[in-house]
Amino acid sequence: MLTCAEFLAEFGDYLEDAVSPEVRAQLEDHLHECKTCQVIVDSTRKTIRIVTESGCFALPEDKVEPIVKDVMARIRKKH
């Protein structure tokens, strides 16, 4: 059985679906038996989902064209 440290060593690649089938099987064996790591995997996936779907730093759609206009005006003024 993998230890938690061994599990965490592969965790990043596991999240990205970038581990070999053999490693995946070992990790899932560990997960099957380790409640703590299960919670970490589940909550990290949810974190990524929440962050990815968040529009918290998004530029509002209607502000795009004003920026385009201002940038081009500044460039043309210089050139």
Partner: protein, 593 residues
């Protein structure tokens, strides 16, 4: 017969005589180390004080710890040996099978079962051990002396298991099959939980000794220039400290085979992989005292394969790391790989012993909760999370050939100013998003966004298409944003110092659909605040990968980082976000008061 050469030691070799006297035989594990008698002597000293000396725990309690922790590691050699020892102490076959299958249902006291729970947690899941585990043992009536012994025996188990994996001795008796009690393991692990709050250690009572009145401390003071806290925390057992000083003297401080620097590197690399900030800080400091720059030590801990160490030194660290941290994957072939580097049998043996010693010390530290002797200079990116990635820094992103902007960029470079408009339109969201994520609440992010495009326009002549245009633009946005960030908050430390930082702390279940707990705008505000709290180097990676959805290669190119470093920072950043969002998203009704 084992992986390495052996030799005959005379019948009067004292440790072997002692083994015969106490165990009735000389374990093959020690016969496998006959090229290094000084190591056997030192190990025998530890075994005698930790295992054989009758103090707070009985020999049987200790043997059960050895048996269960070795079984959890599926270490047939050690399970066979300690099964034999328990049999000779009077335990029945049935009793042993019950304990192996499920010690909670075996005929042992609740206190002894709790002791095994603790040892299993420390042996297999050390980063999760906290003060609460110690308190719970105390509630079962264990004194600090007894807890210290449990920590020592668990450390000894990891020492012996690592030795046996690295040396491959034949079992001394008919091998005991480990059919493991999966059910028991499952139950053990479901009990795993962390108190949530990290009380700072040390966890146990200690006696005040000084270099003036206690020879082992005088020895540490003289050798290291200080008395490491890990030893100060064990003063309830001065005899063990003497034996530990003996191991340090015989294994770490000798220079006839591996150099002291080579040994310290082993300690450093494994401690980082074991998430042991205490030991990382100590051994960085020791390497510094040996003339290795802080920067070099740091890089060794981050990824020794990206240093200019010799191939043989890198191979030694690969070997030690696998043996220590991935014992289930370690094979005879790993020994042969190292053998081909021409180190010689004695040095390889010393490498195995050093690795085992590191696991011993790491386990002790996690069980004792000692605080660092030195402020950790920097919290390590979880390089340990990517111990053997050998990728180099990407020279360009993979998908350059498919850069949709190639044609437009070429027109701008040829003097078509108007063509630039399309690039601004396509990429203003990303540039704005990155700047907003870096700078937070600044009102003039739209102005800074414009500045970035102006810079890009001015330098577009130097863009040679080695990466995608969008990646190149992204790196300008990052540089502009981080520079402003540093100007606005010059005093903000760039590295966080929290030594517990890389251990996940919040381990309560999250709600099934955490999104539904808040309205979208509230959720955005939580994410925004959490992202802005991340240290800069993690924040930029999370921004690029999770918010702007760049590929790993694009993000690594934009930040001029290796793929390994990028991935490590991404995971760290995500775990930190998880930590800071957890309180909002854990199962309703289960929130801590």
């Amino acid at each position: 017969m084992s992986y390495l050469q052996e030799t005959e030691l005379g019948a009067d070799f004292a440790p072997f005589a002692a083994f015969r006297e106490h165990f009735g035989f000389v374990p093959n594990l020690f016969r496998a180390q006959t090229l290094l008698p000084r190591a056997i002597e030192a190990e025998a000293g530890i075994a005698a004080t930790v295992l054989l000396k009758q103090a707070a725990l009985s020999r049987t309690q200790k043997e059960y710890i050895l048996l269960k922790v070795a079984a959890a590691q599926r270490n047939t050699y050690c399970v066979t040996a300690h099964h034999h020892m328990l049999r000779s102490l009077g335990a029945s076959e049935d009793q042993l099978n019950q304990v192996l299958t499920d010690h909670h249902r075996a005929n042992i006291s609740a206190a002894d079962a709790a002791l095994l729970d603790f040892a299993l947690k420390l042996g297999q899941h050390a980063p999760w051990v906290s003060q609460e585990d110690i308190v719970s043992l105390r509630n079962y009536g264990f004194t600090d002396d007894a807890v210290l012994e449990a920590v020592l025996v668990t450390g000894l188990t990891n020492f012996l298991c690592t030795l046996s994996v690295g040396l491959g001795p034949a079992p001394d008796f008919e091998p005991k099959r480990i059919d493991s009690g999966e059910t028991s393991q499952q139950r053990d692990n479901q009990r795993l939980s962390h108190g949530g709050r990290f009380a700072s250690g040390p966890y146990l009572r200690a006696v005040e000794y000084s270099a003036a009145n206690f020879p082992p401390f005088a020895f540490f003071q003289e050798q290291f220039g200080f008395i490491p806290n890990i030893f100060r925390a064990q003063t309830l057992r001065p005899d063990v400290l003497e034996a530990e000083a003996g191991v340090i003297r015989a294994v770490l401080l000798t220079k006839d085979l591996l150099s002291r620097v080579q040994k310290e590197r082993i300690l450093l690399v494994i401690s980082a992989a074991n998430l042991n900030t205490y030991c990382v800080a100590v051994h960085c400091e020791m390497l510094r005292a040996l003339g290795v720059s802080e920067e070099d030590s740091d890089q060794i801990a981050v990824d020794h394969n990206q240093t200019d160490l010799s191939e043989a030194d890198k191979a030694l660290l690969d070997f030690a790391l696998k043996l220590a941290v991935r014992p289930s994957e370690f094979q005879f072939e790993d020994v042969n790989l190292l053998r081909r580097q021409g180190l010689g049998e004695e040095r390889m043996l010393e490498g195995v012993v050093m690795t085992a010693l590191t696991n011993f010390l790491n386990t002790l530290q996690m069980g004792l909760g000692t605080i660092p002797d030195f402020t950790p200079k920097r919290v390590f990116t979880p390089r340990d999370l990517y111990p053997s990635v050998k990728e180099s820094r990407p020279m360009s992103d993979v998908a350059v050939s498919q850069d949709p902007d190639t044609e437009v960029v070429r027109r701008v470079q040829a003097g078509d100013v108007d063509a630039f408009e399309e690039l601004v339109r396509h990429h203003s969201r990303r540039v704005f998003g990155i700047l907003a994520g870096l700078l937070g609440n600044m009102d003039d992010i739209r102005d800074v966004t414009q500045d970035v495009f102006l810079k890009a326009f001015e330098h577009i002549g130097s863009f040679q298409g080695r990466s995608k245009f969008s990646t190149w633009l992204t790196s300008i946005a990052i540089n502009t944003g981080t520079q402003l960030l540093r100007e606005s908050k010059p005093l903000e430390p760039l590295e966080e110092e929290d030594d517990e930082g890389f251990r996940p702390r919040q381990i309560q279940n999250w709600a099934e659909n955490p999104e539904q707990l808040f309205a979208a705008s509230q959720r955005d505000e939580l994410v925004r605040a959490a992202v802005l709290r991340l240290p800069e180097k993690y924040r930029v990676v999370v921004l690029l990968r999770d918010l702007e959805q760049l590929s790993t290669e694009e993000a690594a190119t934009a930040l001029d980082l290796s793929i390994a470093a990028l991935k490590a920072r991404l995971l760290r950043g995500r775990l930190m976000l998880r930590e800071s969002l957890a309180k909002h998203f854990i199962c309703p009704g289960k929130q801590q008061p």
